[in-house]
Subunit: 318 residues, 2 copies
């Protein structure tokens, strides 16, 4: 059967592909729901097998999280593959095995990484693989299962690499100097995305928007110009951070530890509780990560830390 | 007396300087209070004379507006000069004659142009003129007299030229392709800035802000990349325009006229009632301006139109 399929489709590639998508910092403080960058060092792996049945099956989930739904519609990666299958009207299906490397509720884009790893692996099994941008809608259909909202600030950087502006229909990679590094510290506390979103309910004043959009614009201009001073001036979340910080034990001490090491800025990664800082070079980020972890420990929580270039690599087929 | 002063201060320049500041498009739809660009073709002129008394005097105001306060503290340009005089602790003063070329309440930055023309002229009279950015706080102290709020989206482009990101403390010029043009149409209706600001009272939803900041980011990225498609996708004001459009007779017809000529986007200039559109070249902007004026005429109002490059010139000493 497999031989026959390969014979009739000379462009068919292998029957199995494995892809890894890295963690990411969503929001980046000043770009709520629209800006994110990847952070190499932790990631989810998806092993996808092409199957003759036009369906999606989840064979197994293992790693740092395993109690996830196996029904494809209810699983972020499964839903992403279903979206891909239907949109492309493929004459075959996918069987997925997911190896979770990113904890759920960590604010490091765990659900997005599962979606992206799955669609990137599946894409490698297509007779004519699509460009990365074309996978975005499928990954988004998966992400919405986890978070309840359509935001691509984690998906975008995982698909394209580096710092990415992600609107509902468009991904734009923003240039970042290669030496700028991120320290990302993940305390061992779970903060559910839905709960973190609830903290944002209610109304906002126009002045808050003006201040936040000025900061966003400064960071974008600073990245395009490679101007650390502009980023330093802009990388300050006046809109979301004040509302979510109380959900994260020790947040302000952790942030201060980053700033004490010369961070351009530091804030909540995604919906939290992870905290990130941006630094001019790797050495500063490493030193800061150490003290950021100490601050979390002081607040009663062990943590993991990642240090990686902001302009990091996209998901890849391994 | 004058001879004596010049003798004792060998660096002293002339005793009189004239500067012109051009009109501007504030907000640019997606950058409320923080983004603007200048539009050559209309402007305010300030004639500033160095006087021995350490004070600011307004000798006369003429042009399209003349019934403005002559008391320096109550006049935008006078207040800007006072701010400059005090901050620099100058051993002399300024006498100002203002020639207004921009109508008040037009949404074309009339008050800002008076401030900028005045400080640019006065700066030319200093023994050591300051860089343009250093004049920003003085101009801001003048602008606040007219508008009641500290926003630099008109001041910034007038001081630096082109498209400028203006936060309270910083000006950043954003690159724009030379061929991109703006059509700015000013209907002969007065819309007071304070009234236009009142339309923005109340609360805002976070989702509005996410959409607007995505649009802002697309426009900034599009300008840095010279990518018209990104600007076309982003140049849409979902936050302020819906609240102010009812104050402008015929607004939606005028906007549509711009879009019908291929505008990247079109919206309210500053606080209105002027309407601007951005176009890929001069010819499209000229054709659109014609039909935008026709749409205002249909709504009962005569208008003026300006067509100029978005990356236009800063205020200059003439």
């Amino acid at each position: 059967m497999r031989m026959l399929k390969e014979d009739t489709s000379p462009l068919a590639r292998t029957d199995v592909a494995i892809a890894e998508a890295y963690a990411s910092v969503g929001n980046v403080g000043i770009g709520f729901d629209i800006l994110g960058h990847c952070v190499e060092g932790a990631g989810d792996r998806a092993e996808v097998r092409r199957i003759p049945e036009r369906e999606v099956r989840i064979a197994a989930i293992d790693g740092v999280v395993s109690d996830l739904p196996l029904k494809p519609e209810d699983n972020t990666a499964g839903a992403a593959l279903l979206s891909m299958l239907r949109a492309l009207d493929l004459p075959f299906g996918f069987e997925l095995t997911l190896h979770k490397g990113i904890a759920l509720g960590s604010g490091m884009g765990g659900s997005a990484a599962s979606c992206v790893a799955a669609v990137v692996a599946a894409n490698a099994l297509l007779d004519t693989p699509l460009p990365r941008e074309a996978l975005y809608p499928f990954a988004m259909d998966g992400e919405v299962v986890a978070s309840g909202s359509r935001h691509g600030d984690n998906l975008g950087p995982m698909l394209l690499g580096g710092l990415v502006l992600a609107t509902e229909s468009r991904l734009v990679r923003i240039p970042v100097p290669a030496q700028w590094h991120c320290a990302l510290v993940h305390p061992h506390v779970v903060l559910e995305t839905r709960k973190a979103r609830a903290a944002l309910a209610g109304h906002y004043a126009l002045g808050e928007f003006v201040a936040q959009s000025a900061n966003l614009a400064l960071v974008l201009a600073g990245c395009y110009r490679g101007d650390a001073d502009l980023v330093r001036e802009g990388l300050s979340d006046v809109l979301v951070e004040p509302r979510r910080a109380p959900l994260i034990p020790g947040f302000y001490a952790v942030k201060q530890a980053a700033l004490d090491h010369g961070a351009f800025g530091a804030s909540i990664s995604g919906a939290g509780p992870s905290v990130f800082g941006w630094f001019e070079d790797r050495a500063a980020a490493v030193a800061a990560a150490h003290d950021m972890q100490a601050a979390f420990r002081h607040a009663g929580h062990a943590s993991d830390a990642l240090v990686a270039p902001i302009d990091g690599p996209a998901a890849r087929v391994v």
